[in-house]
């Protein structure tokens, strides 16, 4: 939680979680680890935001949750992406790309 780590852009956490789940069902700790690893430890998902976000996604019906056994024989709640969740991810990705592109254009223009 050092100050040097950048905060997530608002609204991107849901997208990151959904994206992480496209490959395989994961538990909360796994999701946090996966995001951390894939971002080369730049992005840290705080537990304080992760679990409320997961509940929100559950409520929207974008993910499903079920209790399963882990490799280490521990009970854990695994989250799976649903069909509507996949659609939502597509929507958010395209919006996000549009925005990044727009920001990029502005920045390039400013540099030139």
């Amino acid at each position: 939680m050092s100050k040097t780590q950048p905060d997530l852009l608002p609204g991107t956490l849901d997208m990151l979680i959904l994206k992480t789940l496209t490959r395989a069902p994961l538990h909360g700790y796994g999701i946090a680890q996966s995001i951390k690893r894939l971002s080369d430890e730049v992005l840290t998902v705080e537990e304080g935001s992760l679990y409320p976000a997961l509940q929100r996604l559950l409520l929207q019906g974008w993910v499903k949750a079920e209790w399963k056994m882990t490799d280490t024989r521990r009970r854990a709640r695994y989250y799976t992406l649903t069909a509507t969740g996949r659609k939502q991810l597509g929507l958010e990705l395209s919006q996000f790309e549009q925005m990044i592109e727009a920001i990029g254009r502005v920045l390039r223009d400013a540099e030139a």
Binding site: Y29, G48, P52
Partner: protein, 881 residues
């Protein structure tokens, strides 16, 4: 669809809360374990890994709550807050009960009084389009509003063009023969359009027909609803039946609706058309009929007054003797119904509002003390992860809960008070206040109550929240939380208590002034000895009314029989008892004095020989009447001192002659005596010149018997009634009262009594609340200065010095409150000066008395904390904290 499934999921969550929480806990525990395992993998020791994992994970309670908030219902957290608030209130029942009681009292009083104000001032008259009803009467030198004479009425009605209707009413009494004997009943004679002008339709039968008030039309009568029920058993075939009133047969043509009321003649049972005029009523100079009318569309009261004034001027030119100085008086009809009640109600509403202010301030300061003692709780909860918004919401919920409970109780108090106050009004008086029937919980009072409740809620939520400046939370935890916070509280709490004391002073001064007025009113010199006097109103049997010889015999018989009763010292009869009104007047002229046709208005009373002696009115000159002063002897008169002062100055009036305007020979009377000023009018009215005439020379059909008893006059009343029935069963006997009762039951005395008792009650409550507030401030200040006091004593301060220190703080606050209060009460006393009698609005003794009372009460309230401070053991005090 999506919304629906979301709702279903939320509902599922709501019902499986426990499972949700369990699963979340398990999930988070799993997360922490995994982190811990990872850290151990990186080479950290097990213990350090565990605490590092905990640290990274953060506050589980807060996380749980935020997760829950993300998905749960808002309502659920509200319920949680509510449960917590209830638990807190239950834990301190003393505080809760006190706060609710104070709020309920303040709010209940305010709403109850508003109920009366609303009924009286906002909806005064129960008639359609009542705003256009106006009181239309004449205006004479001594009377701003004097009744009309019948010939004037006819001219006004014919000539005016500002009124769509003009009608008359005249209260009268009828003798009704009932199975249990003769009973006098109140009635009213009205012109034929009376009910149409008011906009009232009969419940049964018909209204009076146009023309039914002309001489020679038949005797018909309408019944009040109560009379129909009480005397005629609500028979549906009542219309067309005949009832005998004072010996005449009247045909019942209609029954008035149940909610019909006519305040100026509130208790009337029978309503008859004004179609038989007395001799007096046929004269233009006989003013005995009250008028009221309905303004034409778009005509103002002022325009109507101007119109009628010009007619009056025209009549004055036409009939200079009778109509000299007779102008017009027009006022909204509601003025007549409410005139003397309005200032009382406004005063009471102001008093109740002040009481509400005190109550709210008191509860607010209670809350302050509480929020003070909860600083640490808040700090701890904040440190454990409660976010400020959530804490504020908790306090809001508590404030709202308290306000809701207080307001609920307040509404109950209001309903109870309204019914109590309505019942306390005596029936005679209530019948003159038609609005009393509509006092109660209705949409108006409900809205007002809701407004007051909202205000109270706002105050009770804002106070503690303002107090908890959340930036100071950490300070509250680290510091001992006393010094800075204590200072702020002392200042705020002290300000609040000064407000309370100032308001209490305003109410106390008002109460003091009203109480003095009331006392002075009841002890105003009446000019006779009212103790041991029993009185009964009488009406001569219908068979002998207007027959002077028979009436004479009746008077003598009554006085002779009653005087012979055991326990009776003397008895007398008068056409009207004292302390009623300056009315039944004559226009007089004194022989040999300059006269220019002005109307010299004086009270006229017909009395028996022993009447003035029975009253113990002092004889100042000449002689009292004797049995010899009768219809066969020369006409004589006794006058009061006021008449002497006004018309004779220093001259000796004995032997002078007084007559009517024309000094017509048979009106001339010789003055034989002068008596002291017996108060004929109301307690707060001026003494008018009055003349007393032997009843044998000027007969009345209704009169009052006054009896001086040697023992208990109240016990004598039943004996009198049965003796009177024995003398003549046809005699109407009513209004048996002692003279003191009559004086206390006069409208003036009753109004003063009500306003005095209520305001004194308000002031007493205000004083108690103010003292509770002062005690709170002083006690808190002492407890927060325990250590300081200990140090002072350790370095040699005497106990007396500690007393002085604490008491002087109380004295400073009290002085400040009293000072502000006295300045404010100067303004408020001016507002109530209409209600004052015999005492000035700025009355130094009252102000001094209030200041002394407040000072004494304040010293009493702060003595206990001072005593506790002074008896501290310095060693214990220093060790504390």
């Amino acid at each position: 669809m999506a919304n629906l499934s979301r709702l279903v999921r939320r509902l599922a969550l709501l019902f499986h809360r426990e499972r949700f929480r369990g699963e979340l806990d398990e999930e988070m525990a799993f997360h922490r374990e995994q982190t811990e395992r990872e850290l151990i993998g990186d080479g950290m020791s097990a213990d350090r890994a565990r605490s590092e994992a905990m640290r990274r994970f953060g506050n589980p309670a807060s996380l749980r709550e935020r997760t829950h908030e993300a998905v749960g219902f808002r309502l659920e957290t509200v319920l949680q807050d509510l449960r917590f608030a209830l638990r807190l209130l239950r834990r301190s029942p003393g505080f809760t009960a006190l706060a609710i009681l104070i709020l309920a009292l303040g709010m209940g009083t305010c709403v109850a009084i508003f109920g009366f104000v609303d009924a009286a001032l906002l909806r005064p008259l129960p008639y359609p389009d009542a705003g256009r009803l106006v009181d239309v009467n004449e205006n004479a030198t001594l009377w701003p509003r004097s009744p009309l004479s019948y010939p004037d009425y006819l001219d006004w009605k014919r000539i005016n063009h500002s009124l769509s209707a003009l009608d008359l009413y005249n209260g009268t009494g009828y003798l009704l023969t009932t199975p249990s004997g003769t009973e006098p009943v109140p009635g009213v004679r009205v012109t034929d359009g009376f009910f149409r002008t008011l906009g009232v339709r009969p419940l049964l039968g018909r209204d009076f027909l146009p023309g039914e008030d002309r001489a020679g039309s038949g005797r018909v009568v309408m019944l009040s609803y109560g009379t129909w029920v009480k005397r005629f058993g609500s028979r549906s075939d009542i219309v067309g039946r005949v009832v005998t009133l004072s010996g005449d047969a009247y045909t019942i043509v209609g029954v008035l609706p149940r909610d019909f009321q006519f305040a100026p003649q509130g208790q009337a049972e029978f309503w008859a058309p004004l179609n038989t005029l007395t001799h007096c009523e046929q004269r233009r100079s006989c003013h005995s009929l009250w008028g009221f009318g309905r303004l034409r569309e778009g005509v103002t009261v002022q325009a109507a007054l101007a119109d009628l004034e010009s007619i009056a001027k025209q009549l004055e030119r036409q009939y200079p003797e009778s109509n000299r100085d007779q102008g017009a008086s027009v006022a909204p009809f509601s003025e007549i119904v409410l005139g003397n009640v309005r200032p009382v109600l406004v005063t009471l509403l102001c008093g109740a509002a002040l009481l509400l202010v005190i109550a709210c301030v008191n509860v607010a300061s209670l809350l302050l003390v509480r929020s003070e003692s909860r600083r640490r709780e808040v700090a701890v909860r904040g440190a454990l992860g409660a976010r400020p918004a959530r804490l504020v919401r908790q306090f809001l919920t508590e404030g709202l809960l308290l306000a809701a409970l207080g307001s609920g109780a307040g509404c109950l108090v209001a309903v109870w008070m309204m019914s109590l106050l309505t019942k306390v009004v005596p029936e005679d008086m209530a019948s003159g206040m038609p609005f009393l029937a509509s006092v109660g919980m209705n949409s108006h009072t409900g809205l007002f109550a809701a407004g007051v409740a909202l205000l109270a809620a706002a105050l009770m939520t804002v106070t503690p929240v303002l107090r908890l400046s959340f930036r100071q939370i950490r300070a509250g935890l680290s510091e001992d939380g006393r010094t800075a916070a204590g200072r702020i509280w002392n200042r705020m709490g002290a300000n609040l208590v000064v407000v309370e004391l100032a308001v209490a002073v305003v109410l106390l001064v008002g109460a003091g002034l009203l109480a003095q007025s009331f006392y002075r009113l009841l002890h105003v010199p009446v000019g006779f000895d009212p103790s041991h006097l029993a009185t009964v109103d009488l009406e001569a049997p219908a068979s002998i009314q207007m027959q002077d010889a028979k009436l004479s015999t009746l008077d003598r018989e009554i006085v002779r029989h009653i005087s012979a009763l055991p326990g009776v010292q003397s008895a007398g009869i008068a056409s009207m008892p004292p302390v009623v009104c300056n009315c039944n007047t004559d226009w007089i002229r004194i022989a040999g004095k300059p006269f220019h046709g002005e109307h010299n208005e004086v009270n006229h009373r017909n009395v028996t020989a022993g009447y003035l002696a029975t009253l113990r009115a002092p004889l100042l000159r000449g002689r009292m009447f004797t049995e010899a002063d009768d219809g066969h002897s020369p006409n004589v008169v006794i006058i009061n001192q006021a008449l002497v002062r006004k018309y004779f100055g220093n001259e000796n009036p004995i032997g002078q002659k007084i007559g009517d305007d024309d000094l017509s020979p048979n009106s001339m009377r010789e003055v034989v005596g002068v008596v002291g000023d017996v108060r004929e009018g109301a307690l707060d009215a001026d003494i008018w010149p009055t003349l007393y005439v032997p009843i044998q020379q000027s007969q009345d059909s209704d009169f009052t018997l006054v009896v001086r008893s040697s023992g208990d006059e109240a016990a004598l009343l039943p004996t009198l009634v049965s003796a009177l029935h024995r003398i003549d069963p046809g005699l109407g006997v009513y209004n048996e009262y002692t003279m003191s009762q009559r004086i206390e039951l006069t409208p003036t005395a009753l109004l003063h009594r009500f306003s005095t008792w209520l305001v004194v009650g308000f002031a007493a409550i205000a004083l108690v609340l103010g003292m509770v507030g002062l005690y709170g401030v002083i006690a808190y200040s002492v407890s927060s200065r325990t250590r300081e006091i200990g140090i002072r004593m350790a370095v040699g301060a005497q106990r007396s010095a500690i007393y002085r220190m604490v008491l002087s703080q109380a004295a400073r606050l009290t002085g400040l409150g009293a000072g502000i209060g006295i300045v404010c009460s100067a303004a408020s006393s001016l507002l109530i000066r209409d209600l004052l009698f015999g005492v000035k609005a700025l009355d130094a003794p009252t102000l001094a008395g209030v200041a002394i009372l407040l000072g004494a009460a304040a010293m009493a309230a702060s003595f206990y904390p001072a005593h506790r401070a002074a008896s501290l053991n310095p060693m214990n005090a220093l060790r504390e904290e």
